[in-house]
């Protein structure tokens, strides 16, 4: 039966025109490569997450390359142009849109003017590219660097539930990073406890009052200062460690932070992310679903027994306090 089915499939594949089937698969591949999927039914009120346009350029570009000569190609090129625009490759985006205009002048993307607009979608895109290039010719655009993790340094939180390893962003939030390292080296976080949890959302730590007994005071302690916000391209996604917002606007808490277990782009520009969990996120996830009291603190206290700072490169060198 299986051999017969395989044979049938091979014969069928030979019989079916390759174009029709590959168009279908290419459209599906293109749909999968898109960073945003609009809701089908009504204008649903959902906040758009941050899109990874860099990954989109690669994914859509791959589909565009494969779709040459097919019905998918114009759409793939249109999406590619937009993705290039959003990754600040404006000249490349303009080239793609112009190519689309020249090679597919009758395509609806070029010929249809939708109600409420004055230009076709591609014409609008070309105009935007031209405007952006003109603007950039007059003004220097200072772009923030793409955040990268510093592999030469890591901090390990030795909690009573397990170890959590953090790496810091090399080119984002340097003051927050230095502040965290300083407090860790001084033993500030030692014997502090997790003071709030949200199941599968986040775990809050870093309050010095958790060393005291009065649990209704947990979450109100600080080292006596706050830090200025440091805006970067780091988005609040799962695994990111972010400083909590202080009571004052545009200031971060001096010591309290939360570890995110889910994407929370609504925190962008409100809190400063400065590190990422590279190992042990499952520990935090387990902690986040513990039983809580009326203050949303774990009934069974979860302590940071210590924080060790490890430098790698030229041999691993541990410093700071060990758990």
């Amino acid at each position: 039966m299986i051999r017969a089915a395989l044979l049938a499939a091979l014969i069928l594949a030979a019989a079916t025109p390759a174009g029709a089937q590959s168009d279908a698969k290419l459209f599906q591949a293109l749909d999968r490569a898109l960073p945003h999927k609009a809701p089908t039914m009504g204008p649903r009120l959902t906040q758009q997450q941050g899109a990874d346009w860099k990954a989109a350029v690669e994914a859509i570009g791959s589909v565009a390359a494969r779709s040459s000569g097919t019905a998918v190609e114009p759409y793939a090129l249109f999406y590619l142009g937009n993705a290039l625009f959003n990754t600040d490759q404006i000249d490349e985006a303009l080239a793609v849109f112009k190519d689309l205009q020249e090679r597919f002048p009758e395509h609806p993307l070029n010929s249809v003017i939708l109600p409420g607009t004055e230009k076709s979608m591609v014409a609008g895109a070309v105009a935007d590219c031209a405007a952006e290039i003109a603007f950039r010719s007059k003004h220097e655009i200072k772009l923030l660097p793409e955040p990268e993790l510093d592999d030469s340094l890591k901090a390990v939180l030795h909690t009573s539930e397990g170890d959590v390893t953090l790496k810091f962003f090399e080119n984002a939030a340097p003051k927050h990073r230095e502040n965290f390292l300083k407090l860790a080296r001084e033993g500030f976080y030692d014997r502090t406890a997790v003071f709030r949890i949200q199941p599968d959302v986040s775990v809050y730590m870093g309050c010095p009052l958790t060393k005291e007994r009065q649990i209704n005071q947990w979450g109100r302690g600080d080292p006596g200062y706050t830090l200025e916000h440091e805006i970067s391209r780091v988005s609040h996604e799962a695994g990111v460690v972010t400083a909590l917002q202080a009571n004052r606007r545009r200031r971060s808490h001096g010591s309290q932070f939360q570890i995110l277990l889910t994407d929370r782009p609504n925190l962008d520009f409100l809190q400063t992310p400065f590190a990422k969990v590279v190992d042990g996120l499952d520990v935090m996830r387990r902690v986040s679903v513990m039983q809580t009291n009326q203050y949303r603190q774990p009934v069974e206290k979860v302590y940071i027994n210590g924080v060790s700072i490890e430098k790698t490169g030229g041999g691993t060198k541990k410093e700071g306090r060990d758990g």
């Binding site: 014969i11 609009a38 941050g50 999406y79 952006e132 655009i141 200072k142 606007r249």
Partner: protein
């Protein structure tokens, strides 16, 4: 896209089908492959395919099968092409959406969603988003699924709703097309650097303003030269409830507090006291009786001892009692000193001499004479508010229920007198500064009067140019109101009044805009006529955030902060004169404001972080609001929907 198939292709397909047929016949002696047991139908017979809307819930208009499916329901336009929607098509689409889509948002009418879907499908078709047959073969659930029981369940669901396999395919095609159409827009959000710059500029404009001020301080000097007599003051006092309340005699009390802080004892005395042993049982009993209070007083440098790390030997573990024992013993030894004094006071009140008693027993004495709650909080920080309330709730001539302990000190108090709040008499008000209040009020009122007179000049100058036009506007909107009343056939007075009021408001808006166009010149004219000087301020960036201006000593600074933080500056354009009088009670001035200049700072002053922040925000906002571009209301308007 069309598929071309040659005769040879057909032949190959036939051979493939024969292979499958031959392959499916079981060889002799082999078992037939196991098939999954037939799953029961999704729903029982008679149960509707979709739950009907809850009664009184989301108001779905009841959509019923049309008698004549070919009857026209309505038309709309797409790119110059007229699309007709028949009742039959509408109804079948309604059935499809009911079966396939999740329950619509609360309040959304199903009819609107159906029409929205039909219009979006045509737009998607226009943009070439309809899937081909080959694509549909991959999407169509009846073709895609290899599980016969699943297909059967799906078909039963559709059949119960009166739909066919062609409808399943049609829905798959339309849903895909609409999704693709919307994706085109969701993924073509482009935020220009100019947009980010404009968004940033809006909160960083540099303003330069001109203003005319009328300050109370300018009039106070003149008032002081001619002070009021007593009868004038009395009349002012009697007529002005605000002033009387301001000078009100607050709630107050008189009491004596005696306090003892053991930490202030000399070392020799402490050492002598510590020589007396306190038995273990006594100390333990005292600890138990006062455990909650004592636990909060564990010295901070010893708290960590109460949380020993894992593996600490038993002999190194300390208990709270052990940590607190020195303090417990001190309390037990020292308490009698103040306790004796307290007993004495209770016996002797109201004739008790607190000062003498304090001297005799080496205690601190605090006499509170006619003090308010605020005074007590300042005199005795840490126990102020609680203490005041405790005292207030005691009878005059009584003392506290016992010796109290707080923040390392022992204390007790005895209440001598208490007075409830009342309005002052004229004599008391005079003593409290009624005359100054008179000058304050009247100077502010005079300043306001002058400011309003200046505004009147401006208004008069405007009216001389616009009165005819304003009259014409009023007449025009009155006429429109009456026309609407007639067109809608309103008979109820309430409906007529509401319509007239609406048009009156529209007329008021238009008149305001007209007047504002002439306000700048009228302001200039008023300046020349009145001889008042216009001052300038700026350039400055508008301030946000609260500032307690009453606490600022410098009156000029207070004025500047007020003007710089005025919210309406953002909406004004250069040359605009604000049509309202600005009154500031902190600086006691009234202002008439003109915007001279509004300049956006250069792009180079925008930091990389701000650029990134604004651009990301705009991307998210456009992506979020883009979803509303395809709402029913907008589609209906843009595509010119017309009911048949």
């Amino acid at each position: 896209m069309s598929r071309s198939t040659s005769p040879s292709a057909w032949l190959l397909q036939l051979i493939a089908a024969l292979c499958l047929l031959i392959g499916s016949v079981p060889a002799q002696g082999t078992e037939t492959p196991r098939t999954r047991p037939e799953k029961p139908a999704v729903r029982d017979e008679g149960e509707p395919a979709v739950r009907p809307p809850a009664p009184g819930g989301a108001q779905d208009k009841t959509i019923t099968e049309p008698e004549d499916p070919s009857e026209l329901k309505g038309t709309f336009q797409v790119n110059g092409r007229t699309v007709e929607v028949t009742e039959g098509r509408f109804y079948r689409t309604y059935l499809l959406l009911k079966v396939n889509q999740p329950r619509p948002n609360a309040g959304a009418r199903m009819e609107q969603l159906v029409l929205e879907h039909l219009m979006l499908v045509e737009l998607a078709r226009e943009m070439g988003c309809m899937p081909t047959e080959a694509e549909l073969d991959l999407i169509d659930p009846l073709k895609r699924s290899s599980d016969p029981s699943l297909k059967k369940a799906l078909m039963e669901r559709y059949e119960k709703a009166g739909l066919t396999p062609e409808d399943v395919r049609r829905y798959a095609a339309e849903a895909t097309a609409v999704q693709r159409f919307k994706n085109l827009h969701a993924n073509s959000v482009r935020v220009l650097s100019q947009d980010a710059y404009d968004a940033w500029k809006r909160t960083h404009h540099l303003f330069r303003i001109g203003y005319v001020e009328f300050c109370a301080s300018d009039y106070e000097a003149a008032l002081r030269k001619d002070p009021p007599d007593d009868s004038t003051l009395k009349r002012f006092f009697e007529d002005n409830t605000q002033v009387r309340n301001k000078l009100r005699r607050p709630t107050s009390l008189t009491a004596d507090v005696l306090r003892f802080d053991p930490s202030k004892l000399p070392e020799e005395e402490l050492a002598r006291l510590r020589a007396d042993e306190v038995p273990y049982e006594t100390a333990l009993s005292y600890f138990r009786d006062n455990q909650d209070r004592l636990m909060s007083q564990v010295p901070s440098d010893r708290r960590h001892e109460l949380h020993p790390p894992e593996g600490t030997p038993l002999e190194d573990i300390v208990t709270p009692f052990e940590v607190l024992r020195p303090q417990i013993e001190l309390e037990i030894l020292l308490r009698p000193r103040i306790q004796e004094t307290f007993e004495e006071a209770r016996e002797a009140m109201p004739d008790w001499d607190a000062e003498a008693a304090a001297k005799r027993h080496g205690l601190e004495h605090i006499h509170l004479q006619d003090v308010t709650q605020q005074d007590v909080a300042e005199a005795l920080p840490g126990l102020g508010t609680r203490l005041y309330n405790q005292m207030w709730n005691t009878q005059i001539g009584s003392c506290s229920p016992g010796v109290q302990y707080s923040d390392g000190t022992f204390y007790f108090w005895c209440l001598r007198d208490k007075q409830i709040s009342r309005l002052p008499t004229f004599k008391e008000a005079m003593e409290k500064g009624l005359l100054q209040e008179y000058y304050t009020w009247h100077s502010y009122a005079l300043a306001e009067k002058e400011a309003k007179a200046f505004m009147k000049r401006i208004d008069a100058a405007i009216s001389s140019r616009t009165s005819e036009k304003e009259k014409a506007i009023d007449e025009e909107y009155e006429k429109k109101a009456e026309q609407e009343i007639e067109r809608r056939g309103y008979t109820e007075q309430q409906q007529k009044d509401a319509t007239r009021a609406r048009y009156k408001a529209l007329a008021a808006n238009e008149k305001r805009e007209l007047r504002n166009r002439y306000r700048g010149k009228a302001f200039q004219k008023a300046l020349e006529e009145s001889g008042v000087e216009m001052k300038e301020l700026g350039p400055f960036e508008r301030r946000t955030g609260y500032v307690a201006r009453q606490e600022i000593e410098d009156p000029e600074r207070r004025k500047r902060i007020f003007l710089k933080s005025y919210y309406a500056l953002q909406q004004m354009q250069p040359g605009d004169v604000h049509d309202k009088l600005l009154s500031d009670t902190a600086s006691r001035c009234h202002f008439v404001l003109k915007l001279l200049d509004k300049v956006g700072p250069p792009f180079e002053e925008m930091s990389a972080e701000e650029f990134y922040q604004h651009r990301t925000r705009l991307r998210r906002q456009q992506g979020f609001s883009g979803g509303f571009n395809w709402s029913y209301q907008k589609l209906r308007k843009d595509l010119n929907w017309k009911d048949a």
